[in-house]
């Protein structure tokens, strides 16, 4: 079975790398974008099964990305999980109203993130493989 594809949209390169390592160990294939514009472009290009989206981004923000995704039918159906360092009280409801499946405030517990991803994808738990060092494209 092909790996499920996850697009990580976050302007922090360290966060992208950490998520890549964690998700790859759970056998997900990852793609990356560091700003709002390329987030939408990468979603069009790779058609991921799920998007992990930061809110504070250059060239727009996470809400702009969700708005643009909603305008394209094949992108509108992709589940989005917002992972942000922004205040949950001020942003959680807004993110969910904008169409996000979940809002997680950084720092995120890995087990919680993986559980939310599995729930959004409707897949059972995967076993982690502790051997992955492909850092090239992060």
């Amino acid at each position: 079975m092909d790996s499920m594809k996850i697009l990580i949209v976050d302007d922090n390169a360290d966060i992208r790398l950490g998520m890549h390592l964690r998700l790859k160990a759970s056998q997900y294939e990852t793609f990356f974008a560091a700003d709002a514009l390329s987030g939408v472009a990468e979603a069009r290009k790779h058609r991921p099964d799920l998007i992990i989206l930061d809110l504070g981004l250059p060239a727009g923000d996470g809400f702009t990305v969700m708005e643009r995704l909603k305008q394209v039918p094949f992108l509108a159906v992709i589940p989005v999980i917002v992972v942000s360092a922004r205040d949950g009280l001020a942003n959680q409801k807004r993110a969910l109203d904008a169409g996000a499946r979940a809002f997680l405030q950084k720092p995120v517990n890995d087990a919680e993130l993986l559980a939310v991803i599995r729930q959004a994808l409707g897949v059972p738990a995967r076993r982690e493989r502790p051997e992955c060092y492909d850092l090239g494209s992060v």
Partner: protein
């Protein structure tokens, strides 16, 4: 990181955001090490990373209790405080 030129009212939200991003990296890479995703650690190495992670959690709890809600409106904060006081009674 750019030097903040923010008003006093914006500073807590700025601090919360920046500290949460830094903590997210510490927690993320600490758990990657503990879980052996970057190679197996010795018992002592695992213990030391565990101490780092415990202290990162402490900082998170401080953030949650002091700076969370700083981007929200006075009305939203009032609702949260009401919920908290309800839980405490």
């Amino acid at each position: 990181m750019t030097k903040p030129t923010r008003s006093t009212s914006e500073l807590p939200a700025y601090l919360s955001h920046e500290l949460r991003n830094a903590l997210a990296c510490i927690q993320q890479f600490g758990s990657i090490l503990v879980d052996g995703l970057a190679g197996e650690l010795s018992g002592e190495q695992r213990e030391f990373v565990g101490i780092m992670l415990e202290n990162a959690s402490k900082i998170r709890r401080v953030l949650d209790s002091t700076l969370d809600g700083t981007e929200s409106s006075p009305e939203e904060r009032a609702i949260r405080n009401k919920r908290v006081s309800k839980l405490e009674t």
